[in-house]
Symmetry: C2
Subunit: 702 residues, 2 copies
Amino acid sequence: DGSSVDSLDYEVIENFAYREEQARRGKLYVSYLLVVKWIFALLIGIGTGLAAVFINLSVENFAGWKFSLTFSIIQKSYIAGFLLYALINLVLVFSSVYIVTQFAPAAAGSGIPEIKGYLNGVDIHGILLLRTLIGKIFGSIGSVGGGLALGKEGPLVHTGACIASLLGQGGSTKYHINSRWFQVFRSDRDRRDLVTCGCAAGVAAAFRAPVGGVLFALEEVTSWYGILMRTAMGWCKNGNCGHFGSGGFIIWDISDGQEDYSFAELLPMAIIGVIGGLLGALFNQLTLYISSWRRNHLHKKGIRVKIIEACLVSLLTSIISFCLPLLRKCSPCPASDPTSGIECPRPPGMYGNYVNFFCSSDKEYNDLATIFFNTQDDAIRNLFSAKTMHEYSSQSLLTFLVMFYTLAVLTFGTAVPAGQFVPGIMIGSTYGRLVGMFVVKYYKKPNIEEGTYALLGAASFLGGSMRMTVSLCVIMVEITNNLKLLPLIMLVLLMSKAVGDAFNEGLYEEQARLRGIPLLESRPKYEMRNMTAKEACGSGRVISLPRVVKVSDVVSILRSNKHNGFPVIDHTRSGESLVIGLVLRSHLLVILQSKVDFQHSPLPSDPRGGDRSIRHDSHEFAKPVSSKGRSIDDIHLSSDDLEMYIDLAPFLNPSPYIVPEDMSLAKVYNLFRQLGLRHLFVVPRPSRVLGLITRKDLLIED
Amino acid sequence: DGSSVDSLDYEVIENFAYREEQARRGKLYVSYLLVVKWIFALLIGIGTGLAAVFINLSVENFAGWKFSLTFSIIQKSYIAGFLLYALINLVLVFSSVYIVTQFAPAAAGSGIPEIKGYLNGVDIHGILLLRTLIGKIFGSIGSVGGGLALGKEGPLVHTGACIASLLGQGGSTKYHINSRWFQVFRSDRDRRDLVTCGCAAGVAAAFRAPVGGVLFALEEVTSWYGILMRTAMGWCKNGNCGHFGSGGFIIWDISDGQEDYSFAELLPMAIIGVIGGLLGALFNQLTLYISSWRRNHLHKKGIRVKIIEACLVSLLTSIISFCLPLLRKCSPCPASDPTSGIECPRPPGMYGNYVNFFCSSDKEYNDLATIFFNTQDDAIRNLFSAKTMHEYSSQSLLTFLVMFYTLAVLTFGTAVPAGQFVPGIMIGSTYGRLVGMFVVKYYKKPNIEEGTYALLGAASFLGGSMRMTVSLCVIMVEITNNLKLLPLIMLVLLMSKAVGDAFNEGLYEEQARLRGIPLLESRPKYEMRNMTAKEACGSGRVISLPRVVKVSDVVSILRSNKHNGFPVIDHTRSGESLVIGLVLRSHLLVILQSKVDFQHSPLPSDPRGGDRSIRHDSHEFAKPVSSKGRSIDDIHLSSDDLEMYIDLAPFLNPSPYIVPEDMSLAKVYNLFRQLGLRHLFVVPRPSRVLGLITRKDLLIED
Ligand SMILES: Nc1ncnc2c1ncn2[C@@H]1O[C@H](COP(=O)(O)OP(=O)(O)OP(=O)(O)O)[C@@H](O)[C@H]1O
Ligand SMILES: Nc1ncnc2c1ncn2[C@@H]1O[C@H](COP(=O)(O)OP(=O)(O)OP(=O)(O)O)[C@@H](O)[C@H]1O
Ligand SMILES: [Mg+2]
Ligand SMILES: [Mg+2]
């Protein structure tokens, strides 16, 4: 269904209206724009930060309340406790899936493939709307609070992007809560920059990892550097809101972890990297199969099926996470060490290690419950924790790994907001800790910490599944506050990425492909070197328009095809033809609808004279982000109208990029991708060279 | 003297030889290239790491030996001590300036403006040669060891770039130590990627700041993302060499610094930011004046003047750093605290705080000597140090600030390798600590650390002078190992950059402009929106060549102008003219010199038939990096030769980028800059559109 997808145009359309606006505004306006951009970046940072705080607080409160209630009830009856636990989860998940399916279908999933697509130049309908934002925020509270095997980080990135986009177009057009005052950014280019900024703010807020956020945005769009500064400003503010000063940034502090490594330890670390690559690639493949099956069979049956599915998954998750620990025998508490500050078993209702769950003796704890029957944040903190050697048995870890992996795969693709970051960390840190236990056992060194291996495992799984390296690395360092592990994390990430790449593409790329989002990779395919531009664009006749065109012709051309751009051809007095520009379907539709530009004469009107300039405000031509846009069928014209003419000259883009027909497709690809184009004209070789432009010609001093 | 500067061509020249090579090699070759690139990245990382270790060890040993010798002598006589001290400094500086002036003139200065230029697309002669590499390494040992007010970090970045470039072209061509085996990277594009990688390795090695290195490279060239991975690999290795594990990365650890901040402290921090912007901008302006005066007057007088100048600066530095502390009254040691591990006065010959220098009593120390009469690394460590409240008097810090600032300005531009990073940190941390002392005095909070303010001061001065934000921020965090300060560092950096930008451009941009390196900024100037391509390239007639051209014509055209690229025009049978490509001066010179392509007939030869393909190996056309290249005057042709013809078709670039004449210059600028072009044809509007390329046409599945 790639047809529901429109491309974005990062090119500036230098038509008459644009030029006039430029002339009217002058140089000061540029500084004004810059100031507005800074303010927007700040607002985006603050807004995303607030959204993150809201989601976090809600989830923490729901989950905390759920667990303490359950704990107090299981003192009396485990069955009643389980029923309550499952019910609360079900209610939360139901609310989430209900909001998403009824109100904001685009809020399902993590949203990262769609945002990646947007930044790459594809506009997916519904992805950046106000309702999506609302659905995302409330939906992820329900799905994360409901204990499903998913995270809130991906949705937060999407939230940041939505906030940025809505700010950029000055509110929501559908609900008419928009202010013209804000509508300074009309071009796709400016909006993309804002969305990039929003993504960075989202990552920064989700992981409290500002540098990671900036890098994440950079891994997506490296073309415009200036954004960095603004983003930076955004998260500086963001870092302040709520968490100013000590420790506000670090989620899972392992700065008291392992300090020193021997070369022999590189082997188990490499093994972790390989496991990460394999399990990550498997995860991508399984989720791909399941999502495509869901799309093609299950979800075609309507909304009710989606709701039932999510509720079933929630029940399954509750059963597994409650009942599996019951089957597990409790272990006796380790000899207590009062200096470490770790209590065993921990008092009920508190967070920490060593949960007493269905244990016969008071001095015992249930290691499986410690990770399974817990919020994900706490489970990860426990898995990463240092100085808790031998807390987990390998059997428990293996059980957890298998069950949680299965749950994560099953949950992926249900109609709730779902991030894959935290589940990835859970999975990775489990096998990381497993490997760590073997290392502790066989290497017999005093300073090896299982928690550090868990961290490396987490990095390896994320690397093997998402295939990002630098930004993941920085995020991992930032959330664990341990700079010394950086080279090891990088090593593990690179290995798992390399192993994963041998099997399939990254999680987000696979999902984007599945959803029909045509991502352009950063480099051209090898075959393109041997193809020419002419070969690529096929042999169909080009559908073009004359400069002055009859309204009925425009209507019939627009009806007859689905193209979004048309060359405009004029004839000189001597009869030669001349390409004078490109006109967009959306602009034609605006002209047809407003009718003010219709004229009776089939001769060109003088674009400079007359009152042409006041007929249209340039924001009329701006298309709202991720909406369907007008269609030719919505426009009704009288038969008088159809007999009139339009002079297209003022509306066309007079200088689209052109390439000679025998340029190799690899070069064309670079041009297209790096400049973020939408249409490119393939033209015959020129007959003359009017001038050469070199570096010197571009060095204008002011 | 911009004429000594050639542009680089990041475009792939798809001439006949290139296509043939592509056809011969096939797809497997791409994987081979990738592997080679990884290996190269590794080698670059290792090589730069080794160079850094060598420089560091040498400097540490020279400086340590110098200071301990001086200390042992001043126990007897201060005059003898001073003479020895000044003499050692003089010898070291003399050796440095001698090497640079006699052997490697391009090794003077920090090299960063030149590298910036190279990455921007300008090839400056001599900048990436083997002799420059050697001069840089040994020169910076002399200049840093000799105690001048400069650092070794900038030169290390240049060193990394040289190593990368030399590896890329398989050794030095001049000294014939090159291996054809290595010469896989012939295009400017590949070489630039390697140089980027070298820069990142240089930063990583200089600051032991791997992420900062990657970001630094990114701040320069954001176009090719893949480099990141390779670089990452490079420094992972690099982090290992020597410093595996604990603490190897951190130069000036302040992780035991201040932990918590109040909002009231934001005011002094903002003041630090403003001071940084002002002093940084002043530094840029002063160094600009002094360097331009040096270029235009002093250095025109020859090498001897340069040597004398450097020696005088060395003497002045010795006098000031030795004698100023003598004038300063010693302070009594603070009440000793055995738990802090800080001794006062510190034992002679050891590093640390509290130097006893010319003090009457045994329990006293000289605060000015602690920072002035010391290696720079130690001085910075002392300035950053926590738990040493009230060590420095404000009077000493002010004296040091003024004197060191002056010295840094004077030293800038002498003919020795010189980085501005460490002096910048010295200056910044001095006034930062000054502000910190006031904060301690007036805010009366127990947990405020002067050292933390010194760090912020350092960041602010660097921001105000160099105007980089993200990479500087990450570098500062990495070298001080305190992630919690990140938002504050960013705040201070942004403020000082904003203040500095109000006055002038960044240090490197100013210096590049002074040296005639035409850097293209990332965004077009505002005026360019109202100019067309045709207007920019001037009205001069375009000098072009026919397809088959007489040798004598080629020679006379090459003699008559200095252009480096010529359009080639052919005529169809019907007599119409047709632009068939662009030929480079350097390629024409290769053809003229080898003579194998000369033919008697003035008719085109068939480029596909015959033995054309074996006549040239494509590496013949590759120009060595940063060398002068051939000149037409070096080529001698007999009168028989001059009567012959050349068919240019196999050698030209058949599809240079073209723009229509009335495209706005802003768009042209984006195209030129983002694709890294050298020549661009301005052509008349096309008469037909043969096809449209959209995103769909570029999505080829393999
Ligand atoms: N005006 C046109 N005349 C003839 N062929 C066209 C025209 N515009 C596009 N095409 C061709 O049609 C195919 C489909 O392109 P499509 O119509 O989807 O482009 P678009 O809708 O203008 O752009 P996008 O879908 O990226 O927003 C492409 O292969 C392209 O070469
Ligand atoms: N073949 C040519 N015919 C006419 N004008 C040219 C030609 N090549 C360049 N120019 C013009 O000459 C001016 C100086 O360019 P210059 O000759 O330095 O270019 P170049 O040497 O080919 O490229 P670079 O200096 O960037 O390596 C420019 O304004 C350019 O428009
Ligand atoms: Mg389309
Ligand atoms: Mg030139």
